[in-house]
Symmetry: C2
Subunit: 211 residues, 2 copies
């Protein structure tokens, strides 16, 4: 049986990053290393060293939005829960999730669409800078693409990391092809924890430049 290693509570995360950095399958883009590594930290899955796509210039755009007090819209309560709220508040940002709202359920039922898609419609009405963190629902991404095409949305960032088997790959490729600022986990993998990890990595990057 593998032996336990004694690591002080406050040093567990640093030790994790040390191990995963040593085990990276190949060198990764230094600009995106804090994001790629945090996703691997969250998943223990080195596939993300290859699958994460970053649109051109996405990082300055995303950090600008956070500096301006962006709203992060998630598709699930799980992704919402995983975002570091103290870090969010420190930068004057907030997170929202509309999936459980009664008006969203009603709109979805009336239109024969998923609640995730209807939640994107509601979010598109928000003012200010918007970051979408989609870890579960390809139908949310597909709706975002429709809103982009209709010029009803100018997001500062779309984090497109749904997981699964139905329209997941295609919905992510549609976001990449849209030309919108995005970070996407190509392929079937992703999830709410990946979406939250990317949000947190961005918040920590902001923290770093201020300290």
């Amino acid at each position: 049986m593998t032996e336990l290693e004694f690591v002080e509570p406050a040093k567990i995360e640093a030790r994790s990053f040390e191990i995963l950095t040593q085990e990276l399958p190949h060198p990764i883009d230094e600009r995106y290393a804090p994001i790629i590594k945090r996703v691997i930290h969250t998943t223990a899955d080195f596939d993300y060293a290859d699958t994460l796509y970053f649109s051109e210039n996405v990082l300055p755009q995303a950090l600008d939005a956070l500096r301006a007090g962006a709203t992060i819209v998630t598709d699930t309560q799980m992704a919402y829960s995983g975002i570091n709220k103290p870090a969010l508040r420190r930068h004057g940002c907030e997170a929202r999730c509309f999936i459980s709202d009664p008006d969203v359920a009603a709109a979805a039922k009336a239109a024969g669409i998923t609640r995730s898609a209807a939640a994107m419609d509601k979010a598109s009405q928000l003012g200010g800078r918007l970051i979408f963190a989609i870890g579960n629902a390809p139908t949310a991404l597909i709706r975002l693409r429709e809103l982009l095409d209709a010029r009803s949305l100018q997001p500062s960032l779309i984090i497109g990391v749904p997981v699964g088997f139905v329209n997941v790959v295609a919905s992510k490729e549609q976001i990449i092809a849209s030309g919108a600022p995005c970070i996407v986990a190509r392929g079937r993998k992703g999830g709410s924890s990946v979406a939250a990890a990317i949000c947190n990595a961005l918040l920590y990057l902001l923290g770093r430049e201020e300290s």
Copy 2:
């Protein structure tokens, strides 16, 4: 680009299970298929067809506990968020997460342990049937093993699926070796969404036998 497939909202999950069942790398144990498949559904990761460990007779024990109105204790708010609350209420069960409680933070600081470990101490004081769903913190699992060894805990089920690089593999093996009823994702992978998915799979199994 992969084409979008039209699937009615209500049929997306069934279609996902159909695809992943076709793509399973090998036949899986029928008794545990609903759990294994739901974890693969949540992660798009077929590794779980090989890494999920089920202790002998674990399913009847877990379902008995849920029938008796068990409390599910999670190590993170994310895992808590991912558990299907209507399904939980339907069976008279509840979910709790103590990680953000001020008394847990204070106890952790005083003892030089993680908040996750201190949260397990608090949970061990609860009455009734207990199911632990640990998707993040190996230190929570290590604490559960200590409580088991001290005979301070008789859980109905431990879901041991933390993810990561420090003591993750060893802590899971310690739970398996304890002989406690458990479902464990051997290796480094797991996560809050995996923990929640296993809880939900158990709740749906219960729903199925009642319908």
